[in-house]
């Protein structure tokens, strides 16, 4: 095939021959800095995210100990002062959402899985991929630095409402608050770049024969989540620039003393903040449904239904944001509108769960560790979802706002998303990523040791919230109506359960380590799954399919096809 100089110039280097891709990437220690391979970058995001998760969990440990045993020096931390308490809860929230849930669910698994599942050799912009990780890493470092500067870390809650967040004199963390804001802004930039990569890759780089409805749902979910992120984060970036200027040079965008409007920040924040929760939810749902299809040996009950319902959820998610502001002083007429939309959005989400459950029905269910995690996601997220309905009704929210009821609600949604979703994905794709099988017994011990304590932590918090316990209070002994023995007992039960749950995480890390070193060798496809990532080596080599990228002949969930001997039918096998 002749290439004119013009064509080559117009279209860049052409590699029609798979073998031309001989460039194997940097070697040795440098590969951790310069590699553009999507799998390496995925690992980087995964490990950074998990490391940040440990920090966030440590903070949770400290402030729970303070809440349950006020004034007692916390082992491994010391006395908790009010300012430190505020910084701990702020950092816990910020870290878990921006530096754990998003990087692990979207950046790590998205990076790892999307090229593999669509039959591509990498993301479409590998260097921008590397850049986005580096910016992300920088944001994490800046956040950690903010813990050690004079004044300490920002303590104005992850929602950073002004004027507290805008005026250093009020929040007492002049430097920390600006560093926090900078870290969040950089994290947004990293994910905008990453989002462009994911969306473009999914739209354009599919294997020949892979139509839109042949794409595994987890890829769709991650990309739709990226789209939601990209379309919603803009106003908050604008707001962050404005808040930064209020903090540093004394402008008055949000400070009423200077003619600003604090409610504007709230709106800008939550216009993004609400779609953000669906940004993290969708990948978790995608992970769950893929795992369930594999271990129920069944097609997804309604692939297109799920896809369109997800789109509907995404659209609706832009219309509900002010339910976070019902008692903030917004126009009560708007509260009516947002109540209706918020209650409406529970419908498509419930439908997603029904589709997942319907997929299970009649399946040949195998209760492996990943399957247990996927099932737990459904059960726990369901509780989170229904409790959200109480909060979506603005009348009830007048009581519930800023109580532990809200906190328990969002932990019953976020924990399944970020923690259960992560463990589900990790245990399912570990064999592919590391070439070894994880120990299933240890996996199940870890599973039950996480799930049971999780419920024991947060059910008491629902009760406490209904009893009026406010959030973000350093010492409940200061409020006689919240300092009763019964309430403190519940707080202590929750905190002890947290300690148990944290202890069981050691089982997970031990399992990771010994499986990686001495686990049974995983073949290409230990779970007999259909999707493309299972058709190459474990772990996949550079370029994913060095012998030639696959073609696709059917959908991703062709299990238990009546005419076949095997109960699965990989996408790349010719008919």
């Amino acid at each position: 095939m002749a290439h004119t100089a013009t064509e080559t110039a117009l279209h860049g280097d052409l590699h029609h021959d798979a073998h031309a891709h001989e460039h194997h990437g940097p070697q040795g220690i440098l590969k951790y800095i310069w590699s553009t391979d999507h799998k390496m970058i995925a690992m980087q995001y995964l490990f950074t995210g998990m490391f940040m998760g440990l920090i966030g969990a440590y903070y949770a440990y400290v402030f729970r100990m303070q809440t349950a045993f006020p004034g007692v020096s916390v082992p491994g931390f010391g006395q908790v002062s009010p300012g430190e308490y505020n910084a701990l809860v702020t950092s816990h929230g910020s870290i878990m959402i921006f530096w754990v849930a998003m990087p692990v669910l979207i950046a790590a698994f998205g990076n790892y899985l999307i090229p593999l599942m669509i039959g591509a050799d990498d993301m479409v912009f590998p260097r921008i991929n590397r850049l986005s990780y580096q910016i992300f890493l920088l944001s994490a470092i800046i956040l950690i630095v903010s813990f050690f500067v004079p004044g300490g870390a920002f303590g104005g809650a992850w929602t950073a409402y002004p004027p507290l967040s805008a005026v250093g004199e009020y929040n007492q963390t002049n430097l920390g608050s600006s560093l926090w804001l900078l870290a969040v802004a950089l994290e947004f930039v990293a994910f905008l770049l990453g989002g462009i990569n994911f969306i473009t890759t999914l739209m354009n780089s599919r294997a020949p024969g892979m139509k839109a409805y042949d794409i595994p749902l987890v890829c769709w979910m991650i990309v739709i989540a990226s789209i939601l992120f990209m379309l919603s984060v803009g106003p908050l970036i604008a707001g962050a620039v404005m808040l930064f200027m209020d903090q540093t040079i004394g402008t008055g965008f949000f400070d009423p003393a200077r003619g600003g409007d604090p409610i504007l920040w709230q709106h800008l924040f939550w216009f993004f903040g609400h779609p953000e929760v669906y940004v993290v939810l969708l990948p978790a749902v995608g992970i769950t449904i893929d795992i369930i299809a594999t271990f129920a040996r069944k097609k997804v009950f309604g692939y297109k239904l799920m896809l369109y319902t997800t789109v509907a959820t995404g659209v609706l998610s832009f219309f509900v944001w002010a339910h976070h502001q019902f008692v903030a002083g917004i126009d009560p007429r708007m509260a009516n509108v947002f109540t209706v939309t918020t209650l409406l959005i529970s419908v498509p989400i419930a439908e997603l769960l029904f589709v997942i459950i319907a997929t299970l029905y009649g399946g040949a269910i195998k209760l492996t560790t990943p399957m247990l995690w996927a099932l737990a996601f459904i059960a726990e997220f369901l509780i989170g979802g229904v409790t959200g309905i109480f909060l979506g009704a603005s009348g009830a929210d007048i009581y519930f706002h800023d109580t532990y009821f809200v906190l328990a609600h969002f932990h019953y949604t976020f924990f399944p998303i970020a923690i259960i979703g992560t463990f589900a994905a990790f245990t399912y794709w570990f064999p592919k990523m590391f070439g070894k099988m994880m120990n299933d017994t240890l996996g199940k011990i870890h599973f039950w040791g996480t799930i049971i304590p999780f419920n024991i932590i947060f059910i008491p918090l629902f009760v406490l919230g209904m009893g009026g316990e406010h959030r973000r209070i350093y010492n409940y002994e200061h409020f006689p109506e919240l300092a009763g023995d019964g309430m403190f007992l519940l707080r202590r039960i929750a905190t002890v359960a947290l300690l148990v749950m944290l202890a069981f995480q050691l089982v997970f890390f031990y399992n990771c380590f010994i499986s990686w070193r001495k686990g049974a060798k995983a073949g290409k496809n230990p779970w007999n799954s259909n999707t493309l990532e299972w058709t190459t080596e474990s772990p996949p080599p550079h370029g994913n399919w060095p012998e030639g990228l696959p073609n696709v002949y059917r959908g991703p969930y062709e299990y238990a096809h009546p005419d076949r001997k095997d109960d699965f039918w990989p996408q790349n096998e010719p008919a």
Partner: protein, 192 residues
Amino acid sequence: MAFPKPQATLRSATGIPTGRLAVWWLLASEVVIFGGVLGSYLMFRLGHPEWADAAAVTNTYIGAINTFVLLTSSFTAVLAHQAAEKGDGKKAAGFLLLTIGGALTFLMIKSYEWTTEIMHGYTITSNGFWQFYYTAAGLHALHVIAGAIIMGIVAMDAYRGRELQRVELIGIYWHFVDVVWIFLFPLLYIAK
């Protein structure tokens, strides 16, 4: 040696070349960012009629000159694209250089304008209008600078006859920067 592109980059299931697809998505997110800033400004401005005095200070003629400069630079950018399509890398680079020249002219005029205003005491903390004025135009100027730098890199490649498809892509970004200014101009200068 040029970075070897993965096959993923060269595929196009949608029919839109990958690079262009990515730039459109970038613009979609930039629309929302600038929409946030400009929307906030609009809402504030409509609620603060007392900003009219401050708003009257901005010099419509300098703003118009800058609009002219950016429109012209958009014109040269699209001519660069036309040249690149025909495979003429050197001509494309030339037009891109003119576009960068437009960017620099814009920035110089803006510096002069801001210096004058600051010397007269109209700083970013003077008043609500000014804080938005400097923030919105400043954010825009940052995008101008970033665009000019990337355009320089693309021009260098184009001059050597390489990656000519990128001329169109940086052009699309540049036109967007122009469009933002097309809205900033009436908002900050004309509508007193």
